[in-house]
Symmetry: none
DNA sequence: CATGAATGAGGATTCATTCAT
DNA sequence: GATGAATGAATCCTCATTCAT
């Protein structure tokens, strides 16, 4: 399995650094090879082509998101709590690796439609976990049972993603993790005034 | 004023068609010229360069969004109603011009960072209107007065944008406009169960 | 006769200014037209094409050189004196019109071989006058009767031309006209030490 | 060192052939690559850009001129003899490589001012050698000690250059090398009649 | 396994010239 | 005579990928 050889991860990490520093369109294979400390040709012993580097990069990093939340997704937390932990996890990971945040929020979106569709299919596993939480919430009655799951998932992911992107575009000038609670609150309660109970 | 000459809009419309059909990276100037029924060189009588076509395209189309909502943004509707109308307008425009939807949601995002920053500054006018509605809602008491305006704007825009993108990626297989009401409901109330009044 | 209409000279003078200021490769027809205060198309009522402007420019200006020396070329001066006057005239004209000097010494040499051959044939009339002086000098015995006329002409023109070009390249920082006498002296006596008489 | 790899000289020689045959403006990079028997892209492994090919060409060939004369420039010849050998060398090199003569005398002068300035700075080393001979002649008393060195250098170079250019324009119809002695004679003695000794 | 020299397809832009008004 | 909007041909360079060593 190539994925376990040291050069595999070495090249992916080099790709993150190069793309973050030089931008997607200036991230030539030769630059990535140099950063990884291997020859250009070596890249092709581990990846089919350049596109394959990017998809693999996304797969690898997506594991970070999923591994962390798998722990508590089956745990004894309420759906709302799970959602909060998920958002916190999302913000923490990207907050702690600014290069990765730049790559996923800005640079990797400059790819063509085909590549983006492939990236989206990698994303699906993550989104499925969101769906699971939503359904659980609807079943326990914590969430509105009339919800359209896909729409809610889009609201959650759209809000989270837009929040991170804006943060990256502002060059991380404010604390992203501290936005997890208010974002979660917005998602659960909307922007309407809470009715007196 | 070049913008009022017929060929200006003719070229922009050609660009939308060509980019939607062939993708951003296959949208050569010569292809756009052919689609517009003009010579390659004529493009450069109306636009500084290829990038200028794209920015102008975005400016021109963004006017559609803004013009329509300017009518009622000052009207006697409640903030929540204004928000609903805004979302409906957003969905209607992109629903009725599938090419445009493909271009704005998928193709135009593949551009380099410089171009995207310029596009974002065009977008700002639209986002300012959203902010206005949010602030009005907070003042009238219809919205939670404790809201972080930027965060709410990100939730609204992120949700709307993600909804449209998913719809485009599903090739418009379902009715987008009919999602305006549930999306609006989610934004106002969140996914939490409505408390008994 | 087009050459006598005011716009003919107007366009040629505009060409000299534009070429001197912007360089040969940035001297577009439209720029020359603008400088001349006419429309692009008007140029083509007076000149066959762009090349024709340049040849005509050279013809017109070459007249300046020839007219002035025609006066004394038939006069009672010795061949050596005629040569000195010719060099002085050459230096004076280019000294007094820096734009013209830049155009003839630097810019017009960037043209293709064909155009340069045409320019050379315009130059011929001028060079014939040089030949005439040389032959006269050989006949009167003032010049070495064994000379190869073509070679001498090349020495004279080569030396004069190189002197002007160097002066232009040094941006006219020193007085060109005052070099006429020493250049003339070099041409007549060479660089060898004058033998004691 | 790229300059010592075989393809470096291979490409330069191809450039000389292509420029001589097709003219500067028709010497496309792809044509040069084809003539050199390499791919277009290979050119750019050895040269920064097209301009760099031309400057390198000039540098490379200028070495021919300088190497040959370095041998005797320090030798026991009189300054006048050195000058003669230099002119002979100059004529021999260009006489034996007609393509090169066309390129240096006609085609390479069509380049823009920037490139010409760079070419001129390459030429400087050669002109410095001329200056050296002149100064030596003035010191030994073989040349007029009152000479303006720059002016004499301009006479020498202007005469030599004009002689070669005329020869090239006449398509090499006569023997250039045999003109070395008379040109040298003219430079040393001028065209004036030698005074009886 | 690893290398890196070589490959070659592909596109935005300029500007001399035309011609309907 | 004069205009100027429209034309369209023509080229340098980059970079993902290969393959002989």
């Amino acid at each position: 399995m190539k994925k376990n050889k040291p050069k595999y991860k070495q090249i992916i990490d080099a790709a993150v650094v190069v793309i973050a520093q030089h931008g997607y369109h200036q991230a030539q294979v030769s630059k990535i090879a140099k950063q990884a400390g291997v020859a250009d040709g070596t890249i092709y012993l581990y990846f089919k082509n350049k596109e394959d580097i990017l998809i693999s990069l996304f797969e690898e990093k997506m594991q970070l998101f999923i591994e962390n939340i798998s722990d508590f997704i089956e745990g004894d937390y309420s759906p709302s709590e799970k959602l909060l932990k998920m958002i916190e996890n999302h913000f923490k990971i990207l907050s702690s690796d600014h290069n990765l945040a730049v790559v996923t929020q800005l640079e990797l979106r400059q790819t063509n439609k085909d590549l983006r569709l492939k990236i989206n299919s990698v994303l699906k596993e993550y989104l499925t976990l969101v769906d699971k939480i939503i359904r659980e919430g609807m079943e326990t009655g914590e969430f509105d049972p009339e919800l359209d799951v896909r729409l809610v998932r889009q609201m959650i992911f759209g809000t989270v993603d837009e929040t991170v992107t804006t943060w990256v575009m502002n060059e991380g000038k404010y604390n992203l993790v501290s936005l997890a609670a208010p974002v979660h609150h917005l998602i659960i309660n909307g922007c309407g005034r809470k009715k007196a109970v």
